[in-house]
Amino acid sequence: MPWGSKRKSSRMHPKRKQRLLVIGVLVGGVGLTTALVLNALNENINLFYPPDQIVAGMAPVDQRIRAGGVVVEGSVFRETGSMMVSFLISDLDGSEVPVTFEGILPNLFGEGQGIVANGRLGADGVFVASEVLAKHDENYMPAELAAMRGRKPPMGNEVDSGSNGYSAGG
């Protein structure tokens, strides 16, 4: 009975001592966890930069950041023979940033659509995306882009079915 012997030898009330120990361990544990959590947070945030800031050189080079904008009409170019694709994103206010991406683009990706990309900005000013996000509701604008322009959800039969640059022949 290890607890019994301790109980008699201690001067402090055993229950209080025990509780103090539990609280001490808890505070220590929570403190350590908080430090680890904040460290992890610090290392894994991706700052968002709109096109004008990237063009102006305000975005850091070769760091994980997020860029977003509207895909410029006619700018989407696919390399033949590979999965490489490049396009321009714009803030619709004169600033455009070239983006490259290797892989499968999301369904809602299309010219004139708002997208957000995770990736790194190269020294040459080309944004190399590791992930491209487009929203699964075409009425929806990412919060980052909503500030750039007001966009009314299409109603009724005003929907333009050709706007996504891809049509299933059928």
Binding site: V30, N44, M83, P154, G156, S161, A168, G170
Partner: protein, 667 residues
């Protein structure tokens, strides 16, 4: 006419909610039994009118009434009829009507199933649920009326239900999730009622336990369905993204898990009472916070509804009222309730405390990561950022690992005091065997070792073996094996429910570690005739054909799957085009088996006859959701433990005799 009737019914339901929030509780202060008894009928009235309102909205969908804005935005005359039923909850307004209806359903359920509850307690519980319902119904009437008309310029046809929601998973996912979310309002109402009365005793915990278990089980199923849906519908093959909206449902689940364990301690041992109350408040507050995150659109997410500051503001105010009000009540009342702690440094109480601390810390970490973009934006005056999945993994995985390790020892530890030696004697062997299995099984399966696979599988066996050990020691006093086996069902539904739920965790842990470690994925450009090898299988692209559905047309890829040169199956992934919304949808083709999924999704056409194709090999991915179903089953099993019913019956008898005495005394 029918939509106006629905709107009117909604207003009447608000009237019932107002009465429900006021009359029964006022009865407890004035001692009017009739007022206290009115809770049940008022709840029924609220439910009936919300149901009527819901039926009216469903009717508007079935009748293609596109003069109703919500119908026009979320339906179409070509939409298949079963999707017209589910389209009712396909967007914000209707889904909130369903949410409120479910809230009223829970209220009626509490009124019906609480014969054992003292009258004043039931009156308070129903009153608190009425208060919450006021908030919900008012929210709908003020900011999100699903019956708003588009007159006189109503469109000829609707702009269709979002194609992504035209799917079985999305039919069942939101109702399950909502039943779980709103179900935690019962635990919350019980906690608030107990605070009001100052009777925060074991009986209170006993009443709230079954309700909390059932709500938790539904939330578990809802989250699992959402994960499964995202897996096959989004076409990325991922099953969890640490997306803001996923986190919004996961946080109440984590704290709710802490709550069902803390309630157990409060019921069995009478300790942790104040803490349990705080958890009940926290769980429901996180439900409301989740509603805020999802419905205000303040956070970027793949799921969120359109941005609407007005709705966000309303929910924020409601959330602050609920949190502020309940914490103020807590501050006033909590000091009254002192627990006489009587347990040692190593006991089941302490193990459950460890469970609670880890779950709450994990929740706090998820909360921080989820809200950090908002905090940062507010602090910097508009700069935006996102927190990536690596943050959540780095924080969440180690905490859960500690939790899983403690989980094995929890059921083995005894109440009040347990000796370390005794625990170790039971666990040492298990530790050795589970690490051995953790090394051998992944090696046999994949032929390669990986630290995380070893850790995951070991921990899963650590949990399962300790559960078996625990059961064996509980029936050890029965003589031979057959009578021991016969004694297992007699251990009680509560115990067996715990067993099944913990077993479910182990199953999910195996699924998660295997799929994370041994998945194989390729995004490739394929011409007809091309073959790609993924996870030991060969996938041959045999070209594209056209197929048509009721409200879509599609390119369908023909992929022949071969193993060792022999054709084994054909997978037919589709790229669907929904003309009304002009939307493209990926329909992945999946060949599911217990130990692996083969998963193929079409990307985009790359010119000529080439297509981008995404091929996945996902070992044990089903186990993630299977484990969640087992957890939910365990939760329900524990809730139907006969113990609760017996106690309720006994309490009802006692109350009747007391009431009889009272009646004699007053007459």
């Amino acid at each position: 006419m029918i939509p106006e009737l629905g709107h009117f019914a909604l207003a009447l339901a608000l009237g019932f909610a107002l009465l429900l929030a006021f009359v029964p509780i006022a009865g407890t202060y004035t001692g009017r039994v009739v007022w206290m008894r009115s809770g049940g009928s008022l709840a029924a009235g609220m439910f009936a009118f919300l149901l009527l309102s819901y039926i009216c909205l469903t009717y508007a969908f079935l009748a293609d009434d596109f003069s109703v804005a919500y119908v026009a935005q979320n339906s179409n005359s070509l939409l298949p009829i079963h999707y017209k039923f589910s389209a009712v909850w396909g967007a914000h307004e209707g889904s909130f009507l369903l949410w409120t209806l479910i809230m009223a359903g829970w209220t009626v359920a509490v009124a019906l199933r609480s014969q054992g509850l003292p009258l004043d307690m039931l009156a308070r519980v129903l009153g608190v649920m009425g208060l919450i319902s006021i908030g919900f119904i008012l929210f709908m009437l003020l900011t999100s009326n699903p019956f708003d008309r588009l007159l006189p310029m109503s469109p000829a046809d609707g702009s269709d239900l979002n194609p992504q929601l035209q799917d079985f998973g999305l039919i069942v996912h939101p109702p399950m999730l909502y039943v779980g979310y709103v179900g935690f309002s019962v635990a919350f109402a019980f906690a608030i009622a107990a605070l009001m009365s100052g009777r925060l005793d074991a009986a209170w915990a006993r009443w709230s336990r079954p309700w909390t278990n059932v709500a938790w089980a539904f939330l578990t199923v809802g989250i699992a369905l959402g994960s499964w849906w995202a897996y096959y519908e989004l076409g990325w093959g991922g099953w969890w993204f640490w997306d803001a909206v996923e986190n919004a449902s996961f946080m109440p689940w984590l704290v709710g898990t802490a709550l069902i364990h803390s309630l157990a301690v409060t019921e069995k041992r009478g300790v942790f009472r104040s803490w349990t109350v705080l958890l009940a408040i926290a769980t429901f507050s996180l439900v409301l916070l989740g509603a805020f995150i999802v419905r205000s659109g303040v956070l970027t997410s793949v799921h969120s509804f359109a941005v609407d500051p007005e709705r966000g503001f309303y929910i924020m105010v409601f959330l602050l009222l609920v949190v502020g009000g309940s914490l103020a009540l807590y501050a006033l009342r909590a000091p009254v309730m002192r627990a006489d702690a009587n347990y040692d440094g190593l006991s089941r109480e302490v193990m459950l405390l460890v469970n609670n601390v880890l779950l709450v810390v994990a929740t706090a970490a998820v909360l921080l990561g989820t809200l950090y973009p908002l905090i940062y934006e507010a602090m910097t005056g508009g700069d935006k950022l996102s927190v990536g999945p690596p943050y959540f993994n780095a924080v969440f995985v180690p905490l859960m690992l500690l939790l899983l390790i403690a989980m094995a020892a929890g059921p083995l530890a005894r109440w009040k005091r347990t000796s370390f030696d005794e625990l170790w004697r039971q666990l040492a062997r298990i530790a050795v065997v589970s690490v051995a299995l953790g090394v051998v099984l992944p090696l046999m399966f994949a032929g390669a070792l990986d630290l995380w696979a070893v850790v995951g599988v070991s921990v899963a066996f650590w949990i399962v073996l300790s559960l078996i050990q625990d059961t064996l020691s509980r029936v050890a006093h029965k003589g031979d094996w057959s009578s021991r086996l016969a004694a297992v069902p007699k251990l009680g539904a509560g115990y067996l429910g715990m067993w099944v739920a913990h077993f479910g965790i182990a199953v999910s842990v195996i699924g998660i570690s295997m799929v994370v470690v041994y998945s194989d994925e390729r995004d490739v450009r394929m011409m007809p005739g091309d073959t790609v090898e993924v996870g030991g299988w060969d996938f041959r692209f045999d070209g594209i054909r056209q197929v048509d559905g009721p409200n879509w047309s599609a390119d369908e890829g023909i992929i022949t799957v071969l193993k060792n040169g022999r054709e084994r199956m054909t997978l037919l992934p589709q790229k669907r085009h929904y003309p009304v919304r002009g939307m493209i949808m990926t329909q992945a083709a999946i060949n599911p088996r217990l130990t692996r999924d083969l998963y193929v999704a079409l990307g985009e056409p790359l010119g000529g006859q080439a297509w981008a194709v995404r091929v996945h090999y996902k070992p044990f991915v089903r186990w993630i959701w299977l484990g969640a179903l087992l957890m939910a089953l365990g939760g329900v099993m524990a809730a139907v433990d006969r113990r609760y019913r017996r106690l309720a019956e006994r309490a009802a008898q006692r109350r009747e005799s007391v009431a009889g005495n009272l009646a004699e005394g007053t007459s």
